[in-house]
Structure formats: C-alpha cells, structure tokens
C-alpha cells in the first residue's frame, strides 16, 4: 500500500471537547487490511461526514466506535473514556458505552415482532427506566421524528422512510452523546430520503453530535462541519465540506467526486 496522503486544506476548527476520538486505528478481516492507521475526531455538537466508495472501510470505521467491530490496533475514546486500546477492549461496561453511542443502520433493523413504540421502549426498559417514563419518552421521540401517528404499527406496516425515522427515535431513546448513521438513506426512495434527511437536519440544528457515513453528498455539504474522504482503508483527505467537496486537493478525491458528478 502506498504512503497515505492526508491533506487538510483548511483545518477544521478543533472542537473543545471530543466525544469520539480515534487514533492509529487498524482493522483487518481474514488478512485483508480494511482500515489502516486511521485518525478521526468528532467534537461535541459537531457533524462529521465520512464519504467514500463502498468497501472502502467507512462502515467498519463507524462500527469500531461502539465496538461492534474490535480494532486490531489503535485507540478508541468515547466521551473521554478509552474504550479500546492496542487490540484490547478497555471498557468494562460495554452496555454503558453502547448507550452513550446511538446507531442507525442502513437497513433499519427494527424489531419486527414489536410495534414502533415498543421498539423505542425496549432498550430503555432494559436500561432500568420505569415503564411509564420509557413510554412517554418513546412517544415524545416518535413525535419528534414525525411518526407518532404510526406508533402502534409493526415495522412491516411502515414505509421505508417511516421505519428509518422510528430507528432514529430508537437510537435517541437512551439520550446518547453521539449518533452514528451508517448510510441511513441508501435503502430509501427519494421521497423517504427527503423525510429522513429532514429529521437529521433538525437533529443537527438541535446540536446533536453525529458521525455520518453517507452517499448523500449534497446533504453532507449542507449539514457537516467536517468531511472525511476514506479510500482503501485510509483517510485520503479531510476538511471543511466546501474544501473537500468543491475543491479537493487529492486526485483520488476528485476522481471519486467526479463519479458522483459533484466535483466543481
């Protein structure tokens, strides 16, 4: 592999407090290096968008934050606590870590045997929140993502956009400090994509910290504070959205953006 070139044309302002800090992270699957010496920081209230081709390591990078994947090397720090270091999990309470980090999946992964409202209640009850309080919070969150009128429906009775909005409510239920979005609109039609992006836009406006893997480059440009282009398991280029997306410094970034028809 060639020496990585990490270019920051205009350095993003350093956030006073990092909710997620990743340093020197590497991960292989069956001897194939998927992430190689990656460094990433998400400051409180910031939105960091990771872009890149499929298979480039974006999703693996995100899954390393809540340790759905265990990195082989490097450090992962969440909310000031080192959770994984040098190939070993340092976090003693994995459940607490995962309650600090909400995650929204590409394919929603709602629980099909439960109604929308029960999907949002389940983790709260397991975290010891009393029934009535959990229900009230679930209803409030479903209202926030504008799907409360469908709260008693099962996932298979909901449209794709509604399912993803319920999934966002579910991820918010434990009041996480950071939300991870793994290509949240990739399985949706344009109408549903608009609905979901509108909810995410509101979360961004409310100051939610987010790490977002997306192919929605116009959305990344609009809401992200920082864009990271990952290719071949390395960060090729990162910086402010207007820098990375409109006038990228690296040839590989330009090539990638050209394939999306967004390079200026």
């Amino acid at each position: 592999m060639t020496e990585p070139v990490t270019t920051t044309k205009t350095p993003a302002p350093v956030a006073p407090e990092a909710v997620v800090r990743i340093d020197g992270l590497s991960k292989s699957f069956d001897g194939r290096l998927v992430l190689d010496d990656v460094r990433l920081e998400v400051g409180r209230g910031r939105i960091v968008s990771v872009i890149g081709q499929s298979g480039g390591g974006k999703t693996t990078l995100m899954r390393c934050v809540n340790l759905l994947e265990r990195p082989d090397k490097g450090t992962v720090e969440v909310a000031g606590e080192v959770v994984h270091q040098g190939g070993r999990t340092a976090c003693r309470d994995l459940a607490r870590l995962r309650r600090t980090v909400g995650m929204v999946f590409q394919r929603f992964h709602l629980f099909p045997h439960l109604t929308a409202v029960e999907n949002v209640v389940l983790a709260q009850r397991k975290a010891g929140i009393p029934e009535q309080e959990a229900l009230e919070r679930a209803v409030a969150l479903l209202r926030r993502v504008k799907v409360a009128h469908r709260a008693l429906a099962h996932p298979d009775q909901l449209s794709g956009g509604e399912q993803q909005r319920v999934a966002i409510a579910r991820a918010l239920a434990l009041k996480p400090e950071v939300l991870l979005f793994d290509e949240p609109t990739s399985s949706l039609d344009p109408e549903a994509t608009r609905e979901v992006l509108s909810v995410m836009r509101e979360l961004a406006a409310d100051g939610m910290t987010m790490l977002l893997v997306t192919h929605e480059l116009p959305f990344a440009r609009e809401v992200a504070d920082h864009v990271v282009f990952v290719d071949g398991g390395r960060i090729v280029e990162e910086g402010r959205p207007e820098d990375v997306l409109d006038s990228p410094a690296q040839a590989r970034t330009r090539e990638f953006l050209a394939s999306y028809g967004t390079a200026s």
């Binding site: 009128h149 709260a151 991820a171």
Partner: protein, 255 residues
C-alpha cells in the same frame, strides 16, 4: 338408517363414561406434560447445536439423529421394559412421558434451530448497539422472532404428539386407546369401539389444530397476547390519542 345405527351401536356407553373420561384425562395429561418437556429439551438441544463449542454441537447432533431415526414404539419399549430389565423401573406415566419427550424433542430441536438461525444477524447487532446483553438479546429479540417462525411446525408436532399417545396402549398406559382395548375385550365390538375412540381423538385434535391456526394468525398479525404487553399497548394508546386521531383523519381524507 336408524336400524343400521342401532345395529352398529350396541355397547352400553353410559356404563363406560367414567372410565372414558378418566382415559381422556390421561391422554390430555400425557400430551401436556410431554409437550412441555419436549419443548424445553428441544430448545436446549437447538441451543447446543448452535453453540460455538464443537463438542456441544456434536452431542446435540448425535442426539437428534438417533431419536429421529428410531421408531417411537421402540423408544417406548426401551424406556418401559428395557430400563426395567436394567434395574431402573419407571412407572408407566413417567416412562410414557419420557419416551414422548425424547422423541419429539429431536424433531422440535430441528424446528427451533432453523427458526433461531433464521433470525437476521442484523437483529442481534441492533440489540448490541442498544446496549443489550446476550441474555437480553436472546430473550427479547431472537427468541420471540424465532418462536414466531417455529410456531407452525411446533403446532403440527403438538397435534402429532397427541395422536402418538395412542402408541402407549402397548404398555397399558390407561389412556384412550388402552381404554378402547379394554372395552373391546369386554364387549367384542371392535368396529364400534374403535370408531368411537377415533371420533374422540378427532374431537380433540381438530379443534386443537384450528385453535393453533388461530393463534398463528394472531401472532403473525402482531396481536399482543401477554397481559403485560396488552397493558403497555393500552398505555401507549392513551398517550398517543391525539396522534392517532390525526392518522385516522388523514386516512379518511385519502378515502
């Protein structure tokens, strides 16, 4: 027609009513106890077959294959006569239930295994991402979905088990078939007696299978069956009253 009926039915059935009711109760008891045992053992074997440890998988696989490929009647004889000759004398109820449990657990374990492994891996991941532990994920996410998948096969097994209790006639288990044999030897009216015994089995099995079909339909439709889930849905409905009215209005406007 009346003559044919009176010619066919000559056994004084009212005299046998208490014995038949007792036999019916025994058939139901054999079925209920054996089914509960077979479900518990079948689930345990299914979990062993899905275990990461190969010795556990091997033990479970051998168990399943052995009991799936040996006739139930042979298992009944082995449990009742075989074990007795080896010094372990079980009463007929225990031996009968044990035979049915080990036989049906083998089949149920296959149904449960396929249902559990059929739950999408993303479901477990979603549970992990929400901070649920292994037990929480299994009991609240995987098992309820697997049971839904396993319900049709399990229901078929229950009806089959009820009918198979009739094989216990071979060890005089005092269930319906044994009672039929006793009445036959007293009256020499084999056709009449076994027609009535068959009718009783039908009267048990048909409503049971229809009831189970109804249950399958309700579960598939997501109807909350447990009291605590019904209570939760009532509470949610109360909180959501205004939102649901909006939805109803929206639907009406579309119509």
């Amino acid at each position: 027609m009346k003559d044919i009926a009176s010619g066919l039915f000559q056994v004084p059935w009212s005299d046998y009513r208490p014995d038949l009711l007792d036999a019916l109760w025994r058939t139901v008891s054999y079925t209920a106890v054996s089914f509960v045992g077979a479900v518990a053992l079948g689930l345990a074997v299914a979990l062993l077959r899905l275990s990461r440890a190969w010795p556990a998988r091997a033990v479970a696989a051998v168990y399943t294959e052995v009991f799936k490929n040996v006739p139930l009647l042979a298992i009944i004889f082995l449990t009742y006569f075989g074990l007795a000759s080896a010094g372990l004398r079980l009463d007929v109820f225990t031996a009968g239930c044990l035979s049915l449990v080990v036989f049906y657990a083998a089949y149920l374990s296959e149904i449960f295994r396929s249902a559990i492994s059929g739950v999408h891996a993303g479901q477990t991941e979603a549970g992990e991402a929400l901070g649920l532990g292994r037990t929480g994920i299994f009991s609240h996410i995987v098992l309820p979905q697997a049971l839904r998948q396993a319900l049709p096969g399990t229901n078929t097994m229950l009806v089959d088990l009820l009918k198979s209790t009739s094989l216990l006639v071979t060890v005089s288990a005092a269930e319906l078939m044994s009672e039929g044999r006793l009445i036959t030897s007293a009256t020499f009216r084999a056709l009449e007696v076994y027609l009535v015994i068959s009718a009783i089995y039908f009267a048990l099995c048909y409503p049971l299978s229809q009831l189970l079909l109804l249950l399958e339909r309700k579960v598939r439709a997501g109807v909350p069956l447990s009291p605590w889930r019904r209570r939760r849905m009532r509470a949610a409905r109360a909180l959501l009253a205004s939102d649901l009215v909006v939805d109803a209005d929206r639907k009406e406007a579309t119509v």
